[in-house]
């Protein structure tokens, strides 16, 4: 039987479905930023940006950009009524202190024990850059990862043990991919859902690690 992978927007919508009203959420740069577009209207959710914003709104209309009001990816954003600004130490205290409910991050690899690798491929000529990745990984009550299930070469990004340099140890609770939604717990990885037409056995084979059925 054939199956169709979730598009990036479908992945974002799948993540958005799991963010409850009233949640304080940080969306990492890249893929996770898309989640903002799929949060259900009428559900009040508070978006945090590491550079000192709480209550971040959508992108401004063209021509209305204010370059003193940008997100972590340095794109112009807006502020909702009820939002607030603060400095960097306060912003990261908010994370590190466990005040965010959910943080959604991109990843290169996630291990079955929740280890996360998303900041460096460890290539010898690469210029290292970490930003707020390590703070976000350990700072939220729940760290969710949103990524393609496999690399372009077809290797699973869900691994027994990360081969790329770690961002955080045992920090990932959920993984949202173009094939499935996985929960990581003390007893391993449970597949919560997967795309229509994909057999569970096939998902396990693609993933290359043991998975439990829901």
């Amino acid at each position: 039987m054939s199956y169709i992978r979730r598009t990036r927007d479908e992945m974002a919508a799948r993540v958005a479905r799991d963010i409850p009203e009233g949640a304080y959420v940080n969306l990492g740069i890249g893929l996770p930023t898309l989640v903002a577009n799929h949060l259900p209207r009428g559900r009040e959710i508070f978006l945090h940006s590491e550079n000192g914003i709480l209550g971040m709104g959508p992108a401004p209309a063209k021509g209305e950009e204010d370059w003193d009001l940008i997100n972590a990816g340095k794109q112009p954003v807006t502020l909702l009524p009820g939002g607030a600004f603060f400095h960097h130490a306060d912003s990261f205290a908010m994370m590190r202190g466990g005040h965010l409910d959910i943080c959604v991050l991109g990843a290169f690899q996630v291990a079955v024990n929740g280890d996360l690798a998303n900041w460096s491929t460890g290539a010898p000529d690469a210029i290292p850059a970490v930003g707020g990745a390590m703070d976000l990984a350990v700072g939220a009550k729940s760290t969710y990862v949103m990524m393609e299930h496999q690399t372009k070469a077809g290797e699973s990004k869900i691994v027994e043990r990360c081969t790329y340099p770690l961002t955080g140890v045992g920090c990932v609770k959920r993984v949202y991919t173009d094939l499935a939604t996985l929960a990581i717990g003390p007893h391993g990885v449970t597949a919560l859902d997967w795309v229509d037409g994909l057999q569970f056995d096939e998902l396990v084979r693609i993933s290359g690690v043991p998975l439990r059925e829901p």
Partner: protein
């Protein structure tokens, strides 16, 4: 009468010595004290250690300072950007030392310097390459890394309004590193878009009290609304 207002960027930057550790505010372009950094290039101090979130991009500001060969080392969280080519080539050529610090540890280490904290245990970075060789400890079942303060000789920051006592307010997300860098440097120099009479800033909304600021210089608002 105490007057911390300086007449020009050049005056405000007088005396920055070679070898100084210089913090520069900003996250991306927001809060980046471009005029002060340009002034620092003019001023000529060399062999600098720069503390910033990024490592400069394009041709302006920090990138120009790097290109001019004035920087020995940079302490930052995110040097790699689409157009960080001056950093990239100096780093690859081994002409620039890099200390890479997770952004929140960078912010907290700066805050610790300003707050007289000798060192602190942070969970960020535990178990990663960036904590290699660092002291670790388990506290209440969680693992932490010991991090030390980052002090500076000079902080260059961008604020919105300032008065002659050095009180500052900021604008939106341009606040970012400014308030904490101001506390961590021996000499904090702030560029502002507006200088106001003493008492014009509401004491409830002063973000950086003047005790942390040595010099304030007014610069024209240009390009503040453009991407940097």
């Amino acid at each position: 009468m105490i007057n911390k207002l300086y007449a020009s960027v050049a005056d405000a930057l007088a005396g920055v010595p070679d070898g100084a550790t210089v913090m520069t505010g900003g996250f991306g372009g927001a809060g980046m004290p471009n005029e002060l950094i340009d002034g620092l290039i003019e001023q000529g101090a060399r062999d600098l250690v720069i503390v910033n979130n990024n490592a400069g991009n394009g041709e302006q500001g920090l990138a120009a300072l790097l290109k001019a060969g004035r920087v020995r080392k940079i302490i930052c969280s995110f040097p790699r950007q689409a157009d960080s080519h001056h950093f990239d080539s100096l780093y690859r050529a081994g002409k620039l030392e890099l200390e890479l610090v997770p952004q929140g540890n960078l912010a907290e280490r700066i805050r610790a310097a300003g707050a007289g904290v000798g060192a602190f245990f942070t969970p960020t970075g535990y178990g990663t390459d960036l904590a290699k060789g660092k002291e670790t400890r388990e506290i209440n079942g969680r693992m932490y890394v010991l991090e030390y303060p980052i002090h500076a000789d000079v902080a260059l920051i961008k604020a919105e309004r300032g008065d002659r006592w050095g009180n500052l307010t900021y604008r939106k997300a341009a606040r970012n590193f400014g308030p904490i860098m101001a506390t961590a440097a021996k000499c904090t120099i702030a560029q502002v878009f507006e200088t106001v009479e003493l008492g014009a800033l509401d004491p409830e909304v002063v973000v950086t009290p003047g005790i942390f600021v040595k010099r304030v210089v007014k610069v024209a608002r240009q390009g503040a609304m453009e991407a940097a």
